[in-house]
């Protein structure tokens, strides 16, 4: 049935089949046995499934061969392999952290973990999509499950509100993607990234005026309507930026992060960004590299706007969640700055930054989820900044971890966050984007304020009484400690993440050329 080459998609096929199995299993058990609560067991099963997915993925010995399967719609190269492995590892941690929160919030639907698995399947397919249609379908699979996850807390009006907003805006941005790809198809007659790359390779847009050679003008006039292609690219670009919550299109993210249950926000903020960036790399860096002189300008403008909005908007926030949302917006801005250079080092520092963003996001959000306030009304989930008042007195070690991770994200020198951030500034200076570099460094300084303010609230507040928290389960706290020491280890040995991203970029550019 499947020929031998296509069996390389075995990890995804396994994931899909086990999702179907989980649905049947969960449905029959929960319906037949008087609506038994199987949320926990399904969650542990999902962790097992993702772990086995990792195992199958790592066993693919043909990992960085450039295989294209299913009629060239799916590509299996080192970029997709490594990002899938990374996302799967991160999502295992996410599952473990979320479990306690779901029990406290009484989100007792086994569908929740199944939906997360669906979203992960979509994300894995985004990582290895090689066709505009595959990319669209996998984005839809991912975001449809995210819409439901945002609205999963059925008794909360905020959650339903967030789900509806996410649905409408997500559908809007997906339609922009479809419009852009239909124009691209109309111009070029293909939707395959590989074909697009071959078609637009060596079509110099600007050279015509320099050389005045007939060949070039012929290429430009007959093959390519450059304006129409740029038009299409802008639409695709805007829709992907919508998914990333980048500055002119960031407004949905604040409401949705605030309204949806924190476990869902955890996933929205940490997991899908890398996959969307890989899609951006595949479309813009691999397929339309010849147009980089054109799209670089859009990306630089958007990135600067994002950094400014992310660092100034966070100053006003009183809620921890929306502050973290603004922080994630500004991080996406730095990543886009690295991408906009379009150079080898730019790609590498971008991937470095994304990997570190995911680890740091994992640390911060897991600490956020583990802080269960001792209220009479225990359902309160949106923490004010003042709720962290004197956390250093009530839980000293957690406060230490939290402040260290915050300082790392802010990019203060003795942490690994500093190393990746300075990598981005150096790359933008190397690409002669001096103004961009200066402005982003200044904005980084401004954004440091709101990270340090949290540290100040935790340690140096002049109030007598702080809030009390429930103690953290010992097995979960071991995980938090592991994450924290991994972050410290990355400072001692940043070569790990550096070489990893170097290898990815090297193999990517080798396949480009």
């Amino acid at each position: 049935m499947l020929i031998f080459k296509e069996i390389q998609l075995l990890p995804e096929i396994f994931l899909g089949i086990s999702i179907i199995y989980l649905i049947i299993h969960g449905t029959f058990i929960s319906v037949n046995n008087k609506y038994l609560l199987i949320q926990n067991s399904i969650l542990y099963l999902s962790i097992l499934i993702i772990a086995m997915f990792c195992f199958l993925l790592l066993n693919n010995s043909i990992e960085y061969n450039n295989f294209q399967i299913f009629n060239n719609t799916i590509i299996l190269d080192y970029l997709s392999f490594s990002s899938k492995a990374w996302i799967a590892l991160i999502s295992i941690f996410c599952f473990l952290m979320v479990q306690r929160y779901l029990a406290v919030q009484k989100i007792n639907y086994f569908e929740y973990s199944v939906l997360i698995l669906f979203a992960l399947l979509g994300i894995f397919f985004i990582c290895s999509s090689n066709d505009l249609i595959t990319a669209y379908l996998s984005i839809e699979l991912q975001s449809l499950s995210f819409y439901i996850m945002a609205a999963m807390k059925k008794d909360s009006a905020f959650s339903a509100d967030a789900g509806l907003k996410y649905f409408i805006l997500g559908a809007f941005s997906s339609s922009l993607f479809l419009f852009g790809s239909s124009i691209l198809y109309g111009v070029s007659g293909t939707t395959n990234f590989e074909d697009l790359k071959n078609l637009f390779f060596l079509t110099y847009l600007e050279y015509e005026s320099i050389y005045g050679v007939d060949n070039y003008s012929f290429v430009k006039h007959v093959f390519i309507d450059g304006g129409l292609i740029q038009f299409a690219l802008v639409f695709i670009f805007v829709s992907l930026l919508f998914k990333l919550a980048v500055a002119p299109f960031h407004l949905w993210s604040l409401d949705i992060y605030e309204g949806s249950p924190s476990s869902s926000t955890f996933f929205f903020a940490v997991v899908p960004k890398l996959a969307i960036f890989i899609l951006i790399i595949r479309i813009f860096y691999s397929s339309f590299f010849e147009y980089s002189i054109k799209w670089r300008y859009y990306i630089v403008v958007v990135a600067m706007l994002t950094v400014i909005v992310g660092s100034f908007g966070g100053l006003e926030q009183k809620k921890l969640k929306s502050l973290l949302a603004y922080s994630s917006i500004s991080h996406m801005g730095y990543t886009l700055i690295a991408f906009s250079t379009g150079t080898f080092e730019g790609m590498q520092s971008m991937l470095c930054y994304l990997f570190l963003y995911m680890i740091a996001g994992l640390c911060i959000w897991s600490i956020f989820l583990l802080l269960q306030l001792k209220y009479k009304y225990s359902k309160k989930q949106n923490k004010d900044l003042t709720d962290l008042n004197l956390l250093s007195k009530s839980n000293n070690i957690l406060a230490l971890f939290f402040s260290t991770v915050l300082l790392s994200i802010a990019g203060l020198p003795p942490m690994v966050g500093f190393l990746v951030k300075i990598g981005i500034f150096l790359v933008s200076i190397e690409a002669s984007m001096y103004f961009v570099a200066i402005l982003s460094i200044l904005c980084s300084v401004i954004s440091t304020f709101y990270y340090i303010r949290i540290v100040k609230i935790m340690y140096f507040e002049n109030s007598v009484a702080g809030k009390l928290y429930y103690p953290i389960q010992s097995n979960i706290s071991i995980l938090v400690v592991c994450l924290f020491y991994f972050l410290l280890f990355l400072f001692v040995n940043p070569t790990l993440i550096y070489l990893f991203s170097y290898k990815i970029t090297l193999l990517l550019t080798m396949t480009v050329v």
Binding site: M1, F28, V31, S217, H221
Partner: protein
């Protein structure tokens, strides 16, 4: 792969550079090829709907009475208090209908090109229907189809 989409007559003409560049434009020809069908469909749909409405208005014998003239909505009174609760199950049925509608939409083009498909193309549709039926089992078991 790409060459398959070029119209063969025009593709050979690429060798004579200066002759073709004025007369033949690849973009426009592709647009005509791919999108003119959609435009035709749009025209036909508009004309057809106008014809149907017009003739059913002119030709039909009209016997108006109050019950006939009142607006008709499924399952609830059209004019009442806006804050009245509305049963979400109507929407549920509509959404489920759309899912199976889409299955038909996939099936019909699939049957047209079935002869040219390889085994993967055949079995992926079978797989699609299998997974859809699992979705059906799920909604049946949790009682989403249970109107009462």
């Amino acid at each position: 792969m790409i060459s398959s989409i070029f119209p063969s007559k025009n593709f050979f003409c690429l060798n004579k550079l200066s002759v073709c560049s004025d007369s033949f434009h690849l973009n426009t020809s592709l647009f005509y090829n791919e999108y003119s069908v959609i435009l035709t469909f749009l025209f036909i749909a508009t004309i057809l709907s106008v014809i149907i409405i017009l003739f059913s208005y002119i030709l039909a014998v009209q016997n108006p009475e109050t019950e006939k003239l009142s607006t008709y909505e499924c399952g609830f009174e059209p004019y009442e208090d806006a804050r009245h609760t509305f049963d979400v199950k109507f929407y549920l049925v509509a959404i489920l209908f759309i899912v199976f509608d889409i299955e038909t939409m996939f099936l019909i083009p699939w049957t047209n090109v079935l002869g040219q498909l390889d085994l993967v193309g055949f079995w992926s549709m079978i797989d699609f229907m299998f997974e859809l039926s699992i979705g059906y089992v799920y909604i049946y078991c949790i009682g989403a189809l249970d109107i009462h």
